[in-house]
């Protein structure tokens, strides 16, 4: 196997540009599977996947579940509430118990940064990070990259500005890694209190004013403003945030280029993004959601064949299609 992802998908930081491109290219044919009358292929038949969600999520969990089911895997959903996690069971015990039931993969969302890596080191199953604390959310960034590539035909050289709470955002972090590796120009824009220190060190431009960012960029990726941030005193008020940083129709109209607007959801309409923008022709938010299923199918597929050594060993036995059949 020339190029593989290894056992787990923890973040885009660990992946090479070629590995990221491999996932995006593999996602292409999976788009078509979801357009079929029978939206199912038998690729992961007999595999068991556990979706372990220690944080609430609708979109990501459902998107993973569709991806798994369309590949014919058997899936089990475990949410922290109502499970033994509530009784104080620790992460490794939970995972080892699941593994004793002979599962093949774990998709995990967890409030602590580094939780996915921690788990991956301790169990044999493949681990896919579905968001860990403020660390990474790799499949979200991959679907953002795929959407940009679909719409603009390329990623290299594209100017992308990520707007909002960069400090607490795993989506921002994964996007920055992915975009920089694929050769895009990346900027961030948001309140000073929500900018990580030393962000320019990642090869990222910094805009203080949303108008400047819009003049520079071709793509805006507008992050969700976590309402808890206001209570924690990072921003004065939601209305104030909208007045200074909100992506509005008026602001978009003043930009000299026609910008592409992404949002990872769920949206706070009227805070970081206006309804007329979210539902307008420059928004590709629903295209992102569609691509999410394809990207996750690609990741599951690439990890499932999984064990490169075993694959190498089997190659000599002539079951390869190449040239023979």
């Amino acid at each position: 196997m020339a190029l593989s992802l290894g056992k787990d998908l923890i973040g885009l930081e660990e992946l090479s540009a070629d590995q990221i491109r491999l996932i995006l290219d593999t996602a292409e044919p999976f788009k078509e599977v979801s357009e079929r009358a029978i939206k199912k292929v038998p690729t992961l038949r007999g595999k068991t996947i556990v979706n372990l969600f220690f944080e609430s999520s609708t979109r990501t969990r459902i998107s993973f579940e569709f991806a798994e089911k369309r590949l014919s895997a058997d899936t089990v959903n475990v949410a922290s509430s109502g499970s033994s996690v509530e009784k104080g069971e620790n992460l490794v015990d939970t995972a080892r118990n699941l593994e004793s039931m002979r599962i093949d993969m774990v998709v995990m969302r967890h409030p602590s940064s580094g939780a996915a890596q921690f788990l991956a080191k301790r169990i044999r199953s493949n681990v896919i990070n579905a968001g860990d604390g403020t660390h990474e959310h790799p499949t979200q960034a991959l679907l953002d990259l795929l959407t940009i590539r679909d719409r603009l035909g390329r990623i290299e050289g594209v100017k992308v500005c990520i707007c909002g709470d960069i400090l607490h955002s795993r989506v921002a972090r994964s996007n920055i890694w992915g975009l920089v590796k694929l050769g895009a120009e990346v900027a961030v824009c948001g309140p000073r209190s929500l900018m990580p220190r030393g962000i320019e060190g990642l090869g990222v431009k910094l805009f203080r004013r949303i108008e400047e960012a819009m003049e520079w960029a071709e793509v805006l990726n507008v992050l969700r403003l976590q309402l808890e941030r206001m209570q924690a005193g990072f921003i004065p008020s939601l209305r104030e945030y909208n007045r200074v940083f909100g992506v509005t129709v008026e602001r978009l109209a003043r930009a000299s280029r026609k910008l592409l607007v992404l949002h990872p959801g769920p949206m706070n309409r009227g805070v970081e993004i206006d309804s007329r923008v979210a539902d307008g022709e420059q928004s590709v938010i629903l295209h992102q959601v569609t691509n999410g299923v394809a990207v996750r199918m690609a990741v599951l597929y690439l990890l499932a064949g999984g064990n490169p050594e075993r694959a190498e060993a089997a190659k000599g036995q002539g079951s390869s299609r190449e040239g023979a059949e």
Binding site: E32, I38, P42, T43, A314, A324
Partner: protein, 183 residues
């Protein structure tokens, strides 16, 4: 006669053309005309061969022939042992298959596992009235009870041999060659 580690020609460009010409006629007779015929090539060289056969059939019957492409990667039974193919090709089928005569086109028939996967995939798209199989080379060595209806050339290849089908559209020239590994 082939020597160890050698490459010998099975078909040259003219022989391929002759074989395809005969196969096109046999397909028309199998399908009872070209009206309900759909040619479905298996990625990747099967797609090119289906394209050529469709062209030849159109020349003979005067009617356009429906075509499709099938990538069977997601229907393979050896993901576990061989690992994922880095790139899955596109599958696209021309609308409704029910009531049609579908001819699957591939370059080489060997173990039969690819055809098994193709039949499974086709079943997810509809219920053709008949499904046939047409291959340029039948090299023997079947591991499943699957046979071709229409064959360009049969060869007795050994396990470990490789049959390379080279096509102008993909490889820059037309040829079929037997590659025998040095023992």
């Amino acid at each position: 006669m082939t020597v160890a580690g050698s490459r010998s020609a099975l078909l040259d460009a003219r022989a391929i053309k002759r074989a395809l010409d005969r196969m096109a006629k046999e397909i028309i007779s199998l399908a009872g005309g070209s009206e309900h015929l759909v040619l479905i090539g298996i990625q990747r060289r099967g797609v090119e061969l289906a394209e050529r056969l469709a062209h030849l059939i159109t020349e003979k019957s005067g009617k356009a022939v429906e075509r499709g492409a099938l990538d069977i990667t997601l229907y393979r039974d050896d993901l576990e042992t061989v690992g994922p193919r880095p790139l899955v090709g596109q599958t696209h089928l021309p609308g409704e298959l029910s009531g049609k005569c579908v001819i699957i086109v591939d370059d080489v028939l060997y173990t039969g596992r690819t055809v098994r996967a193709a039949l499974d995939e086709l079943a997810d798209f509809g219920r053709p009235s008949r499904v046939g199989l047409s291959v340029l080379i039948d090299r023997g060595g079947r591991e499943l009870p699957i046979q071709a209806d229409i064959v360009g050339k049969s060869v007795d290849a050994r396990r470990g041999d490789r049959v390379d089908v080279l096509l102008q559209e993909v490889d820059g020239r037309d040829a079929v060659e037997l590659v025998r590994e040095a023992s």
